[in-house]
């Protein structure tokens, strides 16, 4: 199977299929569909690699990223999503937010 991420980040490939998602809507719902433990595992794997990932991406033009690099950027966006349950809430949802939603209908590309 073709790798989703650049070869330099092959160690993060196990998380790519689940977290390389192009929209906030998909990333937020992946978060709600995951357990805190799953997100902790993802967070622990990706945060030590985030500086290297940003260095890698900063060497490229943001307007014309190759697919693998775009996926790496999406993975960083998902890392941010996962950080709230992991660092603060210890549950996927914001506590006391009930059934409330706040749907993202437009966002920058990429």
């Amino acid at each position: 199977m073709k790798a989703l991420l650049p070869a330099e980040f092959a160690d993060l490939e196990p998380f790519a299929a689940q977290w390389c998602l192009p929209t906030e809507h998909e990333r937020y719902h992946a978060r709600l569909a995951s357990t805190t433990e799953e997100m902790q595992t993802f967070y622990d794997a990706v945060t030590p690699r985030a500086e290297a990932a940003m260095d890698y991406l900063d060497a490229l033009s943001l307007d014309s990223l190759p697919d693998e690099a775009t996926n790496l950027l999406y993975l960083l966006y998902s890392m941010i999503q996962a950080s709230f349950p992991v660092e603060l809430w210890r549950q996927p949802r914001v506590p006391d937010s009930g059934a409330t939603s706040f749907d993202c209908f437009v966002e920058p590309v990429p």
Partner: protein, 422 residues
Amino acid sequence: MPRFPKPPEGSWTERYPNLGTGPVSYDDSITPEYFEREKEAVFKRAWLNVGRVEQLPRIGSYFTKDVRAAHASIIVVRDRERRVRAFHNMCRHRGNKLVWTDDPKNESQGICRQFACKYHGWRYGLDGSLTYIQQEGEFFDVDKSQWGLAPVHCEVWAGFIFVNFAQEPTQSLREFLGPMVTDLEGYPFERMTSRFGYTTTVGANWKLFMDAFAEFYHAPVLHGNQSPEKYSNAARQAGFEAPHYQIERPHRLVSTSGVRFWEMGPDMTKPMERLTQGGLFGPWEPADLGELPKGVNPAKCDPWGLDSFQLFPNFVILIWSQGWYLTYHYWPTSYNTHVFEGNVYFLPAKNARERVAQEMSAVTFKEFALQDANTLEATQMMLETRYVDRFLLNDQEILCRALHTEVRDWIDAHEVREGVRR
């Protein structure tokens, strides 16, 4: 001792004597009857922001907007002269909704050369003129020039598109906005095209939700759990005070002092904030916007965090010192529901690091908004029980007091003018 000096009148609230300092009632937020009066006196009279010019990039670009509080549905379009116009979204033939996709209850957007009615094929130019009638010869002496789309008053300020549903607005848009707002001209809104937009339906009266964003007294408490314990304890201990409030009716402003997270120790910020260099206050690296217009941070607060310009009735422009801005819209759909829209605008990111800091800022914004939304549904629920109808407001909640007062005054003035009552 207050951290920031109060005005000579003794408090911000007493500076504006029409507000009073007594307990208030929220009777204006819990009945269908009051909402009907707001529709007539406020939403069919005031200038309402419906979007920005960047949403209409080309000739023929359009979007539709349902404004339930004015019982209206409109098309906003850029015509062949590149002018932004607004029309009631209704065919002049039999009254069908003219522009819609799939479901007429949903808003839509796109680009077109003309508008064609799905029902009998009547067509209209981008300037609203009726250009084609199917089987025109079957009608009786029709002068097509008299049957264009019904126009809605539409004016643009600083790239913000406003409409007014009055037959004849009593003020131009500029007069309505007044100097406190128009002094923002020159702020580079048009360069901030990196946009995150969010929407939700909130089960609370629109004014009660505006109140939640009109005071920061709640922030250290409701949002305390968003920060590391050491920071939230310090914030709760200190409480909240704003260095500056300003009311130039009907609009309101609060400026806050800044918090320099990036100068704090690691036990005061979250690991993800340090990693991404972003958070609630935005990217830690400030955007270079050049010299800002005099309307930004008008009291010259230093340090300065943000200005929240609350434009009457339902629109907020919130300018952050880090060089980005937010807008809020509160569109009432009934006395106890409204559609809340939040938009976050940044300069386009030049590289991935900047983009990641923007993502962190936008995601943090959403986490906070989710806490606010659910809390206000709880408020609405209890107010509707009507067992208690007197509530206290402090000086940091002056803008809440001012909004309810302003709405009441508009209703009074309108009903007297219309002879509904004396």
